[in-house]
Amino acid sequence: MSATATAFSAGPLDSAAAALAATLARSTVEVRPLGRGAGGGAAVGAGVVWHGDGLILTNAHVARGHVSVVLSDGRVLSARLVARDVERDLAALVVDATGLPAAEIGDSSALRVGELVVAVGNPLGLVRALSAGLVHAVGRRAIQADLRLAPGNSGGPLADARGRVVGLNAMIVGGLAVAVPSNEARRFVREQLRP
């Protein structure tokens, strides 16, 4: 038994997972409805810092109008809803800030079934909670992950083992997490926010 105990070392895996969680949490925001109390109401979802100059992506069902966002450094900013696509369940928010910790965006078409993915969000009021799972199936319009989500994860990042965002968590269907692929989100940003 002692041989088994010494051979077992979760160290590198543990610290890698912690580093991944920290990287993602920096680029994840809370989304709150405007106007309820001082800093707005309780978080209704999450969002991803897409560009350091203030662009944040979330789900359309999370941002139904102007909202406030809470950054990972605690700042509460009001956000303008600049684009919304209900069909793709995507929304773009702009906050008046620069130098935000933008997420690294991955290529969702390169995902392999079975690879590790993690989600960060605000499930059940927990702030920037991490859940881990596997890619269950990949489609052009949706990524399914064998991963436990809860309301409050919506709009938050689904990321691969390198911490690159490959999707925005949108729904729970039959116990599976369903995310909008990052390539779909890129297309949305390109189409909606042409300079």
């Binding site: 890698a16 079934v113 590790l116 596997l134 199936a137 064998d146 691969d160």
Partner: protein, 298 residues
């Protein structure tokens, strides 16, 4: 993050290694999953086979092939299909005896789709609620999504160590270990069903009065009272009567139905068993030739 990345790559590679040997089985309204176990032979979960005719399988590269039901065993929830023209690779089989509680495992469904979890418990040989002998208890902490029953349990290297099913125990995800799949498959291919020993008796436990135990020198405090005797069954032919109390079989004491079942496993059909019964307050010995369980249509 290198450690995480290499784990992630290993898991995705495990899926890619196992996926070509998976088929979708169309034998009910919604497909289930099957494993190409030996060339031309597919195994799936018996409870997902609702029709015995016009069964087809779809391979991982999208081909649809006709399948014939070679046999089914509700006891172990296994059904075996013969599929002509199946050229896909067969499953690369791992050693289910090497599984440990806590091992990371994958369940695969046709598609491929995947579910991730751990071995949550292991146990010795057990008997399912429908009388099947399963060589090892393998309990899973993972989700079996719709259509996953009949699919492979895959270890972290992509080798198949069992067949997943939600049909063997209520609310519990289990895998039938590979050793059981191979054993039952042999029997199904040979004769289309799994033989189980049969006495033709209905019995229930009864407490034995202490004076009787002392008088007859019986070790246990319970026996099994015979409440039904199948006409012309093995026990009836041996002379067992309604009201006899069975206290021993094959020289060993019996106190519950599991003790009896232990004498009726695979390969016992045709064997002679000495039954020790209490009849009218005295010991009596009877020779029963174990018969074969009549098959129920499912």
């Amino acid at each position: 993050m290198e450690a995480l990345l290499s784990l992630s790559n290993d898991l995705a590679s495990a899926v890619e290694r196992a996926a070509p040997a998976i088929v979708a089985v169309h034998a009910r309204r919604l497909p289930s999953t099957g494993i190409h176990w030996r060339p031309g032979i597919v195994v799936t979960a018996e409870h997902t086979v609702r029709t015995e005719e016009d069964i087809t399988v779809t391979t991982s590269d999208g081909r649809s092939l006709a399948a014939r039901l070679a046999g089914r065993d509700p006891g172990t929830d296994l059904a075996v299909l013969r599929v002509e023209g199946l050229t896909a690779p067969t499953a690369s089989l791992g050693d289910d005896a090497a599984l440990r509680v806590g091992h990371m495992v994958l369940a695969l469904g046709y598609g491929p789709r995947v579910s991730w979890g751990v071995i949550s418990a292991l146990g010795p040989r057990w008997r399912s609620g429908r009388g099947g002998e399963i060589d090892r208890l393998v309990r899973l902490d993972l989700v079996l999504y719709p259509g996953f029953s009949g699919g492979p349990l895959v270890d972290a290297t992509g080798r198949v160590v069992g067949l997943n099913t939600s049909g063997l125990a209520h609310e519990t995800r289990l895998a039938v270990p590979g050793i059981t799949v191979s054993r039952v498959m042999d029997e199904l291919l040979r004769q289309g069903h799994v033989s189980r020993g049969y006495l033709g008796l209905g019995m229930q436990p009864v407490r034995l009065p202490d004076p009787l135990r002392a008088q007859l020198g019986l070790p246990g405090d319970t026996g099994l009272i015979v409440v039904t005797v199948a006409p012309d069954g093995p026990a009836a032919r041996a002379g067992v009567l309604l009201g006899d109390v069975l206290v021993g079989l094959g020289g060993e004491p019996v106190s519950d139905l599991d003790d009896v079942q232990a004498h009726l496993g695979a390969g016992r059909v045709g064997a002679a068993l000495t039954a020790l019964v209490i009849r009218a307050g005295a010991r009596a010995e009877l020779r029963i030739t174990v018969g074969e369980q009549p098959r129920r249509r499912t």
